[in-house]
């Protein structure tokens, strides 16, 4: 069964490439999300998470200064980030990368290249699991 997802939640898309932010934003809009903000690196993402009410994070892995994995660890270390849903969208597809991300507390993981349907399915899995555990 499909989970009940609040399409007005604030989604943060983190990627150093504007192209990928735009692709992800377009897909999220297509799915129905209406409230999407962007950050071009991990430090900006953390500021937005601290200052703003972010409900869901979609982040790249390979970014300069702070990788997506480091960002994820930083998010989990923050009080308001412990329970924040995080989806990683990355070119890092090796099993050890997935294990690292899972250990750091990622909710789900997509390897580039991806389709809109894959992103939608991964997001639904995240919220279905959270609703089942609630």
């Amino acid at each position: 069964m499909k989970p009940d997802i609040n399409m007005n939640m604030k989604v943060l898309v983190v990627d150093d490439f504007a192209t990928m932010r735009k692709i992800v934003r377009n897909i999220l809009k297509q799915i129905g999300f209406t409230n999407i903000v962007e950050a071009d690196d991990g430090a900006n993402a953390l500021s937005l998470i601290k200052e703003d009410k972010i409900d869901f994070v979609v982040t790249d892995w390979n970014m300069p200064n702070m990788t997506g994995l480091e960002l994820l660890k930083n998010i989990r270390a923050q009080e308001n980030g412990k329970n924040l849903p995080v989806l990683m969208v990355t070119a890092e597809g090796l099993a050890e990368n997935v294990v690292d991300a899972v250990k750091a507390g990622v909710d789900n993981y997509i390897v580039k290249p991806f389709t809109a349907e894959t992103i939608q399915a991964k997001i639904e899995q995240i919220f279905a699991k959270r609703q089942a555990n609630a």
Partner: protein, 156 residues
């Protein structure tokens, strides 16, 4: 260069462009490239750390890349601008990453750098090692592009 390295880059190129840009591409006959002059208007270059060390580049004609990025982002582009250069960087990132994952399954452990993008007619591409460069030409309906790969340790 280990010829085993060619196919992962070839199939990554076909797969990434099909999935992310809805663009069918046709690979031509690989050839040995002996100079640094690019075969197009904009290039993305990615350093690869092994061993063996190497690099990959993607060079697009203007007609080809504006069509690919227009299709990828659902907007119309006509010139090689910052949006196009950013997209070339991301395509380089995805193609090198996909090839690296494929090679990882065969026991090779590679890291890739953040891509560098260069544009302008006749721009040069400098690969990370002095080994021969293999170029693979591709055709799309909108124009051509070339993938170059170069790895050290030619005897492997």
């Amino acid at each position: 260069m280990n010829v085993e390295f060619i196919n992962p880059f070839l199939s990554a190129t076909i797969g990434v462009l099909k999935t992310m840009a809805f663009t069918e591409v046709q690979a031509g006959q690989p050839f040995l490239k002996k100079d640094k002059i690019s075969h197009g208007d904009v290039s993305g270059i990615v350093g690869i750390t092994g061993p063996p060390n190497g690099s990959m580049s993607l060079t697009f004609s203007k007609a080809c890349i504006v069509q690919i990025v227009s299709s990828m982002l659902g907007e119309t582009f006509q010139e090689v601008n910052d949006d196009i250069r950013d997209a070339v960087g991301e395509l380089s990132n995805m193609i090198s990453g996909t090839a690296r994952n494929d090679l990882g399954k065969k026991g090779f452990s590679f890291k890739t750098s953040i891509p560098t993008v260069v544009s302008g007619p006749g721009h040069e591409i400098t690969h990370m090692c002095k080994a021969p460069t293999i170029a693979i030409p591709f055709k799309t309906k909108a124009g051509h592009f070339v993938v170059e790969i170069s790895f050290e340790n030619g005897s492997q």
